[in-house]
């Protein structure tokens, strides 16, 4: 690892340079909260942010996405035949993403990219994007990344990790892609030892405050059917109003719906975020619904994230501890508490 140091002005200049050649996306403050958006000017970028309200999953899996287009014109020989809709896959740099969110993309990869099927939109967007992370010097009270196997300085899923060391940033290239990005952005001055030391100290203090709230392994060790039939779900589900807030804000909730829309004789096949919280999600054409009850849907969400995913892929839980659902659930259902119940490491 050859860490680089760049002062804050220097980073801005490098970003401006990047912006001339590719799309640069970063956290900007819009209205009431931060969101990832393509930068129009470097001044929009706000690297002092805590985290974005919505996860950056929409960079790879937008809420609404055009998959195919087609014509229904009767006289057109191509009528009814679907064509892939054009998309912008030009090179893109995402700046300042938090390590938890970057880790989330790795977890999502297991879903979108399997041995048999590769989701082309996910893959092409992932491929054309370089992720430059920003370490969390001050995690929030709702963060629990270290509990679920990532951390405020985790490099997993990133190409470069930036650490804000006060007067500038230490940039650590993580991948070959990251190395090249730094080189081509003109960032070459090696970080002095005291900067590295500072970054290390920041990491220690950030991690210290986080601790471990429940055991992921304990949940893995539970019998799936016993967990499924556990009595605590009744209490967990009571407050839930079955809105899509948790699933839509979550960086590892990838479920989607596919819908056709027609306008005149032109049609689109679109995909859009869907949520296991919605009754229609599993509603059969026959009227039968295997998850017709709120309890079943709430249980599904937590079981999927914390148990099924572990059992299926053996790489931890499908949660990165970003805390968005904890902060924004309108009725204060707290995944940390649910996980504690599931791991039975506390008697609440």
């Amino acid at each position: 690892m050859s860490e680089i140091f760049v002062d804050k002005d220097g980073l801005k200049k490098s970003i401006e340079r990047l912006m001339e050649h590719c799309r640069v996306v970063g956290p900007v403050f819009r209205g009431q909260y931060h969101e990832f958006a393509q930068l129009k000017e470097v001044g929009e970028l706000d690297l002092t942010y805590r985290n974005t309200r919505l996860s950056p999953k929409d960079l790879f899996h937008p809420h609404s996405d055009r998959m195919f287009t087609y014509t229904l014109a009767k006289d057109d020989p191509e009528a009814g035949i679907l064509k892939e809709a054009p998309q912008d896959y030009s090179p893109r740099v995402v700046l300042g993403i938090r390590p938890c969110d970057a880790r989330a993309f790795q977890l999502d990869d297991t879903n979108f990219v399997t041995e048999e099927f590769k989701d082309p939109w996910w893959v092409k967007r992932r491929e054309s994007t370089t992720l430059v992370g920003l370490a969390c010097n001050e995690p929030c009270g709702t963060c629990f990344c270290t509990t679920v196997g990532t951390g405020p300085f985790d490099e997993a899923g990133l190409d470069v990790l930036l650490v804000d060391v006060g007067d500038g940033y230490m940039a650590r290239p993580v991948t070959e892609k990251g190395h090249r990005l730094l080189a081509e952005a003109g960032l070459t001055s090696p970080a002095p030892a005291e900067v590295k030391k500072k970054a290390e100290d920041l990491q220690k203090s950030a991690e210290q405050g986080l601790g471990k709230l429940f055991s992921v392994d304990a949940i893995a060790g539970q019998n799936s059917l016993e967990l499924f039939n556990a009595s605590f779900w009744d209490e967990v589900q009571f407050a839930c109003i079955n809105c899509g807030t948790c699933t839509f804000l979550c960086p590892t909730c990838w479920c989607f719906d596919i819908q056709d829309e027609v306008c005149g004789d032109k049609g689109d096949r679109l995909r859009l975020w869907d949520s296991c919280m919605f009754p229609l999600f599993t509603h059969h054409g026959s009227g039968h619904n295997p998850r017709s009850q709120k309890l079943q849907r709430v249980r599904q969400r937590f079981m999927h994230k914390l148990k099924y995913y572990q059992d299926k892929y053996h790489q931890g839980v499908a949660c990165v501890g970003c805390g968005r659902c904890v902060q924004h659930c309108p009725v204060n259902i707290d995944i940390r508490q649910v996980a504690q119940l599931m791991s039975a490491s506390c008697i609440c």
């Binding site: 340079r17 001339e20 050649h21 590719c22 998959m67 195919f68 087609y70 229904l72 009528a79 009814g80 035949i81 679907l82 030009s90 090179p91 740099v93 790795q106 990869d109 879903n111 990219v113 399997t114 048999e116 099927f117 590769k118 082309p120 893959v123 092409k124 992932r126 491929e127 054309s128 370089t130 991948t175 892609k177 090249r180 990005l181 081509e184 952005a185 799936s224 059917l225 499924f228 990838w254 479920c255 989607f256 719906d257 596919i258 819908q259 056709d260 049609g267 096949r269 869907d274 296991c276 999600f281 599993t282 059969h284 054409g285 295997p290 998850r291 599904q300 079981m303 999927h304 099924y308």
Partner: protein, 309 residues
């Protein structure tokens, strides 16, 4: 000058997706698993007297698509109608029948209702094949008991045609079939049923819940009852059962009584689906996606999963 190559590089430099990297340079060549193969409706046959079930015979527009559509009895496909959407339907034809696919579709929702109004010659799409299939490797050399009810007979038809194919027939032992519907007019594939009835290499037990047709020459009674009466032997045998939940519920104890262990009772499940390839997330039962890890499960496997289907 910035080359921007760092972000647009090929897969070689991209971690975590070894599987893709292994499949070679795919850019613009990768098969889009969501893209249906265009097909033409060759014929539409109304199967039942209530006109709620029609069989669509589909022919691929591009012969190379047909070559890629390699399937086994028990699999399903997404039927795609541009402008309306897709529905997952079991494949009713057998891979031994070349040149077309058959799907029998029940009219329930937006897409299936539209399909019912489509005619021969119209263009639609098929995406698949999807899911797993009846365990043909395990069934080799075994007796096969097929139990079906109502319109869930589609992939069972595929299986029967497949097994009766002269090239395949020697691979299986005795084949017996219990197939029931509410009334004679609601049975699917009536001509084929009659033809199978006349053969001696397949034991057919066709039944209806009731009928006032004096010419009805087959059984009368519910599928579980008829299964019990005909008592197909469980020795060296597998049972494949598809039908409405209530039929399955009452037939399973009969099969157990006949001596079929849970790992030799095979069933196929239905679930609301969208992508059909295990990605969109809605059709899971516990860890298993019905669209990709199913739809075919043994009773033994189902017993390990949450009862949520």
């Amino acid at each position: 000058m910035l080359s921007a190559g760092f972000a647009g590089e090929g897969l070689a430099g991209w971690r975590g997706l070894g599987a893709i990297a292994a499949s070679g340079p795919w850019r613009n060549e990768v098969e889009n698993p969501y893209l249906p193969y265009p097909v033409r409706i060759e014929s539409v046959v109304t199967e039942t007297e209530d006109r709620n079930l029609k069989t669509f015979k589909l022919v691929f527009l591009n012969p190379e698509d047909e070559a890629r559509f390699n399937y086994n009895p028990g699999q399903f496909a997404e039927l795609s109608v541009a402008g309306l959407g897709e529905i997952p339907i079991g494949i009713a034809s057998s891979p031994t029948e070349k040149g077309f696919l058959k799907f029998t579709v029940n009219k329930v929702g937006k897409v299936s209702s539209h399909l019912h109004n489509m005619c021969a010659g119209e263009i639609m799409g098929v995406r698949g094949p999807m899911g797993n299939w009846y365990p043909w490797e395990l069934l080799e050399g075994k007796n096969v008991v097929i139990i079906g009810g109502g319109f869930a007979f589609t992939t069972l038809r595929s299986s029967i045609v497949y097994m009766l194919d002269p090239a395949n027939r020697p691979r299986f032992g005795d084949i017996s079939v219990v197939y029931g519907a509410r009334s004679p007019g609601l049975l699917l594939y009536k001509d084929e049923l009659a033809a199978w009835e006349r053969r001696d290499d397949i034991q057919m037990h066709i039944t209806v819940d009731g009928t006032d047709d004096p010419a009805w020459k087959y059984n009368i009674g519910f599928v579980p009852t008829v299964t019990k009466q005909k008592a197909p032997s469980s020795e060296n045998a597998y049972a494949i059962i598809c039908g409405p939940p209530i039929m399955i519920k009452f037939t399973l104890p009969v099969l157990t009584e006949l001596g079929f262990p849970p790992d030799r009772i095979i069933s196929s499940l239905e679930m609301r689906m969208k992508c059909g390839i295990g990605i969109c997330g809605r059709c899971n039962i516990g860890t298993e996606y019905v669209c990709k890890d199913g739809p075919v499960f043994s009773l033994q496997k189902l017993a390990q999963l949450p009862n949520e289907y």
